[in-house]
Amino acid sequence: MIDLRLKGVSKSYGKNTVVKSLDMKIASGELIALLGPSGCGKTTILKIIAGLQQPDEGTVFFGSQVMNSVPAEKREAVMVFQNYLLFPFMTVEENIAFGLKMRRTDKAVIKERVNEILALIRMEGMGRRKPSELSGGQKQRVALARALVLRPQLLLLDEPLSNLDAHLRDEMRELILRVHREFQVTTVFVTHDQEEAVLLADRIALIFEGNLHQFAPVRDFYERPQSERVASFFGNSNFLKGFCSGQAVETELGAFKTPLTGENESGRTVSLMIRPEHIIPGKGEDNSFLCPIRSKIYMGSFIRYRIEVGEGLWDVIDGPEARKGYEEGESAWFTFPPHMIWLV
Amino acid sequence: MAPGISILSEVKNINKKFEKYALKRAIVVIPLLLTVLSSLSALGRSDEILPFEERYQTMDWEDIVAEADGQTLYFYMWGGNESYNRWVSSWFAGRLMEKYNVHLQMVPVDGPGVYINKVLAEKQAGRNSGGSVDLMWINGENFRAMKKADLLFGPFADRLPNISYMDESKLEFDFGYPIEGYESPYGAAQSVFEYNSARVPDPPSDMGALLEWAKENPGRLTYPAPPDFTGSLFVRHVFYYVAGGYEDFMGPFDEEIYSRIAPKVWELLNEVEPYLWSEGKTYPSNLSRTQDLLANGEIWFSINYSPDGAADYISKGRFPESIRTYMFDTGMIGNLNFLAISFNSNAKAAAMVAANEVLSPEVQYHAASPEGMFWMSPLDMERLPETYRRKFESLPLAPSRLPAETLNRFSLPEPGADWLTRIERDWQAEVLRK
């Protein structure tokens, strides 16, 4: 297996720059998600890795080898497209065998490997079917099998789950994880769905407008987002502007204690972030403030308050049995535990 | 997926469904439909005045002219010669309009097959009046076919005052088929050879010499493939050459004579074939392709029915100046071409007026002049008033044009139409396909 490295990779279409000097290093055997809203350049990055598009600048390394001039068909990187793209004029078997046939692999070997992979995707006995006779989930599995049968060094998946129904997604996710475990193949997949990225990936690369905003293990995105934007992409967050003052942050609500060490430059403006589920209704030791409750909604598994914090409105999530019997319209105490506060 | 493909995907059903429904239904419904329609159209007809064809024999010429007044006349003719088209549609049509208030509309088409089929279809459809074709330019086999199928109006030629300028002997037969007044002369044709004088200073003097010459000059001679009219003209000359004259072919078709002459003709033609243009592997499809070859120097000889064709083409720049015409010392075939009137024309009076007018010396003279269309007049010069005879004689002669006296002296008659049909058919079998 190989390491993958992108160095200063840029790509534009006309005036529109879709990838901006991207640096990224992926270790062998990792499962990486390229996450970002639609049109942020994720698929372009995937195609650059696959060799289907040439970067305008920058270098692609597989291990220590520069790949820029290696054509797609010679790279040990196989891409699985979003809309399956099964060849309609071939059977399932022929589809899966396609890559091997192009490499002029021996017929017996092809047969064996196709059967092996059909078993892996649990589609034994369906090899003679035409793509038009398959369900969406089966199509996706065949598309994946078609890539896997080549035993690639690098598996590139473009939105592997986006066209599937909810229950099929679980199944497919399982399959991808299983495949990744069994083949130990370095896998990069593209998604616009943070939940999908969180559930599958070891590490996530978050991309906005062609810029890599954060590339880190999943947990970091919740707890240590590098910007307000990153934070809001990963679930609901509450923000409050303020400036540093020693270990505290001065806000319009008052001083918040933070997990800061004293190194922070006093007076620097920061955004103070806390997730709704980390706010505790009631008065605590530190960082307790009296806030007016705008609304209270019973959501089944939890209760959501909307409270006024300075000029803004914050969400607070409380358990199903509300710890305090707060009601809409009154002002109440809320505690913002310092170790749950993150400054961006 | 669009239905374009699904239509075709269903084509296999054609066998079953198409034949079962559409075909059966068509066979049943259409005759039914036709019967209904024909009875309907029969109901709508009424006979207020007797039709022209039942009255014209007892009418004075003045009455016919009077009846023609205001009629529109559709004149169907081969439309491949710009000079002819111009002359008919403007000069001649203008004259008819001015003199008789007859509105002549020229309908240029690509051959007589067009109007024969048209009149025939009208007859089949039961349209016995108001036909689309009034007057047509015709002769020979086509005339015979139409007359046999009762597609022509007549006899009318004897009612035309200007017919008196014609030599009666020329009004009896057209390619051996009795005319009986069903067509009146329009122009004359006298075949000549067009040749490139820059290449051939001294052209061969008869068919035998020409075929010998062809063997010495491979690729420089060809003729259009019969049944093209000019092509069969060439073959007819070979028949005359082999038979040593035209006399054998004047009567009705005679199998005995034919089987004596024809094999020698085919032998001669097959012998020379490899030396023809394109090594005889193909023949030009018509006269104009042949003339094109002549113009471009590919071939050096081309037979033509019109003695004035070369002069006309040279004046238009279609032939180089070096093209000349000549005739065999043994003579060459000449004939007349005619006008005929369709059986269902609604403008028969106007058609007769036009047929008469075209025979007037003044009109023929204009047609023959360079301002006209280099026309060869069918009129008998002996019967013309002195002034017109002089005028005709003083027409300027292009270098490529033979004098009238030569043309007349070497003119041979056409064989009968039955001969022609047989010759054309057998040429295909004996020469083309061998």
Binding site: M79, F81, F87, R103, L156 | L8, S9, I116, A125, A145
Partner: protein
């Protein structure tokens, strides 16, 4: 309103003229091919026209020539149209101009281009003059016989000129709607450029090219204008044979014309069905 009724009402305005006029004419033609035409007193249908046509010794050669011309015109059309569409798809410079030029032949009637081909390809034509100008040939007879030739090359050229754009534009629109994805996928799976073309692009295009090529085949097989102008006198293509019967001054030959035309139609129907069955059975896009 019932959906069936609605659909039939919608198609009726198009169906009625086709049924009455076209199939009416077709029916009359078939009747006449059996020498059956009560209006002119022929009221006992028989097969004499068919037996006479089938006995015609030119028929077999004519059929061979017609097949040769129409099959080679159709297959060359497809090959060249796909090539042109592939080149046009990714052309950048002057693309609009070239595309327009590519579409131009669709608007030119067959006669005109047949006449153009005559002036271009005959032994004294423009092409011969060009080759003579560059000293390639010394005499016009050195120039190959390309019109009125044995193999119908001139006819094929005209059909190609007319049909490549027609099929090419269909091919181009298939390529455009297909996008680059299949190609990229195939390359990612390890296919070389040529493999992509033969294993992916062509099979994908095939179902879309089928209907158009059937139309082309039917046209080249059944129309007489171009072979009439550019064919040789013997053997002539089947439609020209029909035309010759049809315009013959001998009116007895008209049932022959119709009989041969009906045979051509039958042959075309059978061919189309077979073609569809053996080449078009694969799945659609």
């Amino acid at each position: 309103m019932n959906r069936n009724t609605a659909a039939w009402l919608l198609t009726a305005p198009a169906l009625i003229p086709v049924l009455i006029l076209f199939f009416g004419g077709f029916g009359l033609g078939i009747l006449q091919s059996f020498s059956f035409f009560p209006l002119i007193g022929l009221d006992t249908p028989n097969f004499s026209a068919y037996t006479e046509v089938l006995a015609e010794d030119e028929l077999l050669l004519s059929l061979v020539l017609t097949l040769l011309v129409s099959l080679s015109a159709t297959f060359l059309t497809i090959a060249l149209a796909v090539t042109a569409a592939l080149a046009l798809r990714s052309a950048e410079r002057g693309r609009r101009g070239i595309l327009f030029l590519f579409q131009f032949p669709i608007t030119v009637p067959h006669v005109i281009i047949a006449l153009g081909a005559l002036l271009l390809l005959s032994q004294s034509g423009f092409a011969a003059r060009l080759t003579a100008f560059f000293g390639i040939i010394s005499d016009s007879t050195d120039f190959p016989v390309l019109v009125n030739d044995r193999l119908g090359l001139g006819i094929i050229y005209v059909y190609l000129w007319k049909q490549i754009p027609f099929i090419g534009i269909i091919a181009l629109s298939v390529l455009q709607s297909m996008g680059n994805d299949y190609e990229e996928l195939a390359r990612s799976l390890g296919a070389k450029q040529s493999q992509v073309l033969f294993h992916v692009i062509l099979p994908l295009m095939r179902p879309a090219l089928l209907p158009g090529s059937v139309l082309c085949f039917a046209f080249t097989f059944g129309s007489y204008e171009v072979p009439f102008l550019l064919g040789r006198s013997y053997p002539s293509m089947l439609p020209v044979l029909v035309y010759r019967y049809f315009t013959n001054f001998n009116l007895v030959q008209r049932p022959l014309a119709m009989a041969l035309a009906v045979l051509i139609t039958l042959f075309l129907l059978v061919t189309v069905i077979l073609y569809k069955k053996f080449l078009g059975g694969r799945n659609r896009l």
